[in-house]
Amino acid sequence: MKLNRNLSQRLGFGLISLMATLTVIPIIVVVIYIITQGGGAISLQFLSGFPHDGMRQGGIMPAIVGTFYLTLGTAIFSVPLGVAAAIYLAEYAADNWLTRTIRIAIINLSGIPSVVYGLFGLGLFVLFLKFGTSILSASLTLSIMTLPVIISTSEEALRAVPQAFRTVSISLGATRWQTIRRIVLPEALPGIITGVILGLERAAGETAPILFTGAAFFLPRLPNSVFDATMALPYHLFVISTQVPEMPFQIQYGTALVLIAFVLGMNLIATVVRSRARARRQW
């Protein structure tokens, strides 16, 4: 009997660790495949030059810059709004139907397909508000898509701060706002930053939301205002993979490699922030 229990435990753990290992394999394979196929395309000229010859030659610099602009624009709109909403939900909101409605809305927002956000952005920002196909419209669209991620991860980070800190701070004569600003927010900050980066990372890699709102097929120059359209890595990848005949596949994979490096780089920053904070954390 005893042997059986130990045996089944070992079998169970073995199976679980096998499953866990299996999940890592696809990501490793994808990364290796893209590096081997696209690594040769990477050069200074590829990273810093404009595409030419119908994008079959040259670099992808405007797409890199464009994705950077879009990510930055998304951050400018979604971070203050998202963090503020999270603070409200975690610290101030009473548990009533309004709060529950807001929470349900947020959960549902994160389930909406990204192409629907794109269409919504087209209707609201491009046409109704007359921002045109622009960095502004695309950033706003991406912001709305990113908000649920930022709100829910930030709220979680705030809730993880022990209640006792708040009680003590209040008992020392601090107001609730002072308590949040001086104690709760600094403690929750690493978690919030992680959530923000994860949200922005998704925004950086999306094609559908910017398809109708700000992405350009090809631009011979960099955008010089927020009302200009811009090239962007994911859309550029889509274009050169499907819209351009006789495209050298090395450039396709090179572009994919740059996009993946961009996103994984942000991921790495999030991981470093998180582990540093964990090492320092006292609770």
Binding site: F165, T167, S171, L172, G173, A174, E187, Q282
Partner: protein
């Protein structure tokens, strides 16, 4: 002289549990008043009324009055921030804020808007000396407070309340997580502190109640059963239920 007069206080939480039933008692200045009794008796609830920390809980009704220096602190118009400066609190588990030792001590003053370095430094030194912690930490005030031992942390919490120069100090089982040596240190500092402050203590045992009390109030299920001088209540209790509890027949 009585610092606090509690008059017909009844407290009820939203979940329907009645926490205090028509409690009236006066609390003497410069003395240690002990609130003791089995769990669920309403001691902590009463404590949390005295600095309005109960505002954070789901209190449904609080009727009656609590007069502190002649003013009813249950009045909605009461400035609770000023009240909490006047009435300090130490909790059962030492909760140091995620700041340095110095940062913990100056926190209360800083949120009041005090930024003068000399004032803050004075408060740090004075409060640490009062809590008998100065010698142990004076060389490492900028270390994280969490690095201190449990006993030191709890004395830091006492010092943190004292830094605000309160008039009343509430202690909710301040030694429940401490070893006997640390407990003795905290108890000894309370005996010193009562010369300057009004101290209200919820002890973690009847023995501690008997050691510390100048006055003692026995609470049972929200009711104040007996309130007398410490000397008499633990030796010659008047009420049968008090006697049963202090002699260990229940609880």
């Amino acid at each position: 002289m009585n610092k606090i007069e509690i008059e017909n206080l009844t407290l009820q939480y939203s979940d329907g549990n009645e926490s205090l039933r028509n409690v009236s008692m006066g609390i003497r200045e410069n003395a240690i008043t002990v609130l003791f009794g089995p769990a669920g008796g309403g001691k902590s609830s009463l404590l949390r009324c005295l600095n309005r920390l109960n505002d954070m809980a789901d209190v449904q009704t609080a009727v009656g009055r609590i007069m502190l220096d002649g003013e009813n602190i249950l009045d909605p118009k009461t400035d609770v921030i000023a009240l909490r400066r006047k009435v300090g609190m130490v909790f059962a588990r030492p909760v140091v804020l995620p700041l340095s030792i110095r940062g913990n001590l100056t926190y209360g003053l800083e949120v009041m808007g005090e930024s003068r370095r000399s004032k803050l430094d004075d408060a740090v030194e004075r409060s640490l000396k009062q809590a008998a912690l100065w010698d142990e930490v004076k060389d490492r005030l900028d270390d994280q407070a969490i690095a201190l031992s449990g006993g030191q942390q709890q004395r830091l919490c006492v010092a943190r309340s004292l830094a605000l120069e309160p008039e009343v100090i509430l202690l909710d089982e301040p030694t429940s997580g401490l070893d006997p040596i640390s407990t003795a240190k905290v108890e000894a500092s309370l005996q010193e502190l009562k010369k300057d402050y009004t101290i209200i203590l919820v002890p973690h045992s009847v023995q501690q109640a008997a050691r510390a009390a100048d006055f003692a109030a026995f609470f049972l299920q929200g009711e104040l059963v007996e309130y007398a001088e410490g000397k008499s209540i633990f030796t010659t209790p008047v009420n049968k239920r008090t006697e049963d509890y202090v002699t260990g027949r229940f609880g």
